[in-house]
């Protein structure tokens, strides 16, 4: 078999393609060198311990970091929450047992932060609870609605999917600044209202506690909704179309189809979405910190900010208390996850 080969004489001088090719070759060379070099290390290890035990070797780097920076701190957190004092290292701290927890739970009326010894903790807890309920509720409903709409045969569905997803990619700090700019004294909201009502008093939504809380929820929904929309959309698309066709033949209305086909089959996905959203909502911090800084006053101070300020910004830092608060928060999060696992198992069995 003969073939003709087009001979391309390389053009003399500089060309982008050639430099990219060159870079690619250099990179491949360096990569090969590194990999081969590492083989010189791993080879003898393998000869020493055998193929099967190489699994341990591959696991070591990840588990080392994992153990030092995740597992160990988890355990340490419990110990730490039973200590008090100003020193950082556990050895320098005094053990006080459950004192920190007792201080936290020292309240005459749990629903009134002012009656508590650690009123700031309960204020943060209350704020967080309200936030979680409204933000997760509103967001999941909106995400469901959007997913249902996107599930139809629409032109440019991929485009619209991306549109709703875009804010998810923005960093919380960026989200905070975008909305801080829009919501501030002379910002866009104030300006748009001014078009309709020129003589109005300046609008500063973030100066009013309830408005601030509402806006924090709205901004948070804006920033995260697209993510859950995608998951719900995937769930919707996994429902076999034949079910709807069969329904149409039987003459079911759109609402009935939704209630008896869509909703039950979407339930598992809804659970996943709900728990993910709940876990996320409990930890709200970054964008609120930029948007309101926890204000006005303590109206938008949530649990993570409380932990951060108590443990790192207080003077002196109250680390034992912060550790206790984070343990409590961790327990709440764990409960959410366990509930989800339990509900998931129940729906699977059904």
């Amino acid at each position: 078999m003969s073939h003709t080969e087009t001979v391309r004489t390389p053009r003399a001088g500089f060309s982008i393609k050639r430099s990219l090719d060159f870079l690619g070759e250099m990179f491949a060379l360096v990569w090969g060198l590194i990999m081969n070099g590492l083989d010189l290390i791993f080879g003898p290890i393998q000869r020493l311990i055998g193929v099967r035990r190489m699994g341990y070797v591959f696991l070591v780097p990840n588990m080392a970091i994992f153990g030092i920076f995740i597992l160990f701190p988890m355990v340490l957190n419990f110990y730490y929450s039973g200590t008090s004092g100003v020193k950082l290292f556990p050895a320098d701290r005094e053990w006080v047992g459950t004192d920190n927890y007792q201080a936290v739970f020292d309240c005459t009326n749990y629903l009134d932060p002012n009656s508590c010894a650690e009123d700031l903790f309960w204020r943060a807890a209350q704020n967080t609870a309200v936030f979680v309920i409204f933000q997760v509720g509103g967001m999941v409903l909106l995400a469901l609605l959007t997913a249902l709409i996107l599930n139809q045969e629409i032109v440019g569905r991929a485009f619209f999917r991306s549109v709703f997803f875009y804010p998810v990619l923005l960093s919380p700090v960026v989200v905070g600044f975008i909305w801080k700019f829009i919501l501030q004294r002379n910002g866009l909201i104030d300006g748009v209202v001014g078009v309709f009502d020129p003589g109005h008093a300046p609008l500063v939504p973030l100066n009013d506690p309830n408005a601030a809380r509402s806006w924090v929820i709205l901004v948070s929904i804006w920033a995260q909704m697209g993510f859950y929309t995608l998951i719900l959309l995937a769930g919707l698309q996994s429902i076999p179309g034949v079910l709807y066709e069969a329904g149409q033949i039987d003459g079911t209305s759109r609402w009935q189809a939704f209630r008896y086909i869509t909703l039950p089959l979407l339930m598992p996905t809804m659970f996943v979405v709900l728990v993910l959203a709940l876990i996320r909502a409990v930890q709200v911090f970054d964008q609120v910190f930029v948007l309101t800084g926890g204000g006005p006053g303590t109206a938008t101070k949530y649990m993570v900010q409380y932990i951060y300020e108590t443990g790192f910004r207080n003077n002196p830092p109250r680390r034992g208390l912060a550790a206790s608060a984070s343990v409590l928060m961790g327990i709440v999060l764990m409960l959410f996850t366990l509930v989800q696992l339990w509900l998931g198992r129940k729906s699977e069995a059904a």
């Binding site: 995740i70 290292f89 910002g187 993510f227």
Partner: protein, 375 residues
């Protein structure tokens, strides 16, 4: 054209135009406005000068009030230009002064006395808004001579000149943290996933369950002890203190393991028979085959690290180590937020992710849908 026409008169599976279609369309358009609008507003505003940022009514494009310098007369202060109607004729005049908001004093740049150094009050063209019956606010918005101008100084100054807010340094730090952390994450997560998917050894399943279990423990729960650990290791206030702790992501290991389970064992077996070392198998068989999952993890890692805020906030106290997110946050500590710079740097911070998104959105959205994970 036909696609648009079909789109507009598309029916919802029945033979009449449905209210649901209309609502759908409306919702989607509203969605685009609400989702993109704020970002676009910020981008456009980032090119406005400080005094322009809060003009009433708000305008989308950045304008600059045109000015003129009259030689020999007040050269260090350019005079603003207005289009004023005098005696039925519209002339472009330079404003020298305004008295009591209604009495404007102008000079005509094309009709100046020969000796500009001796211009006095008598040479001014006076224009009294009250006599003309014009509202000062209307006059300002109508008569100004403006041109669309992009204030690129908003970008240049924080990135090149500012001594207190050195966004070039912050940008560099963000890039370093993101790249190094992503590389480390990819390497060690894939090694661990390989071990957990293709090897059988004692404790393998326990370790996997532990890893997955810690998905329930986000870093916000262990802030204090992790800080303690890195302080003990002398990594406090260093970039490594930001990079290392988050590198062993449970989600990454999980994702890669699930994917690697689909790699046929026979490939590995035959490679072993051919005499390849385990490391060689990892790097020449497993890694290339796991590329799609690695790509998804890479994208997520870049996103997480670039956007990371709370942990760097705790670890980094030196200004020259700040990442972009920390730099932005520090900006707002001022009594008067310098919005022109803040907006520009916000755009700089969101630009890389936006570009990645524009090119790779298919990857991202399908990756999320199948694995249901983010951060």
């Amino acid at each position: 054209m036909t696609a648009i026409r079909n789109f507009i008169i598309r029916k919802h599976g029945r033979n009449r135009v449905d209210v649901v279609d209309f609502m759908t369309y409306l919702y989607l358009v509203a969605g685009v406005l609400v989702m993109f609008g704020p970002v676009l507003w910020v981008i456009m505003s980032s090119f406005k000068t400080r005094d322009q940022l809060f003009e009433r009514p708000p305008r989308i494009l950045p304008y600059k009030h045109q000015t003129v310098v009259i030689e020999g007369f007040n050269e260090d202060q350019p005079l603003e230009l207005y289009d004023v109607e005098i005696d039925g004729e519209t002339k472009r005049l330079a404003k020298v002064n305004v008295i009591a908001s209604v009495l404007y004093q102008f000079l005509d740049p094309e009709n100046l006395p020969d000796d500009t150094a001796s211009i006095s009050r008598d040479d001014y063209i006076e224009y009294n808004l009250r006599d003309q019956g014009i509202d000062p606010r209307d006059f300002e918005s109508d008569a100004r001579v403006e041109k669309v101008t992009f204030a690129t100084d908003n970008y240049r100054i924080p990135l090149q000149e500012s001594k207190t807010f050195r966004f070039d340094v912050y940008l560099k730090n963000s890039v370093i943290v993101t790249l190094v952390a992503t590389i480390i994450t990819l390497v060690i997560n894939s090694m661990a996933a390989f071990a957990l998917s293709k090897y059988k050894f004692a404790g393998r399943d326990t370790i996997f369950v532990i890893i997955i279990g810690t998905l329930m423990i986000p870093i916000s729960v262990i802030l204090v002890p992790v800080f303690l650990v890195i302080t003990q290791l002398d990594m406090n206030n260093t970039l490594w203190g930001v990079i290392i702790p988050g590198a062993a992501t449970p989600t990454g290991v999980f994702l890669l393991r699930q994917y690697m389970l689909t790699i046929p064992d026979e490939l590995i077996e035959s490679a072993r028979i051919d005499g390849a070392s385990e490391w060689r198998i990892y790097w020449q068989i497993i890694l290339p085959l796991a590329r799609p999952a690695l790509a998804v993890l890479a994208i997520f890692s870049v996103m997480w690290r670039w956007n990371d805020f709370l942990w760097p906030l705790i670890v980094l106290q030196r200004n020259e180590l700040f990442t972009l997110q920390l730099g932005l946050n520090a900006f707002q500590g001022e009594l008067q937020i310098q919005w022109d710079y803040v907006l520009a740097m916000t755009v700089v911070t969101l630009l890389p992710i936006t570009i990645v998104f524009a090119f790779l959105q298919r990857f991202i959205t399908s990756g999320i849908a199948t694995t249901g994970m983010k951060g």
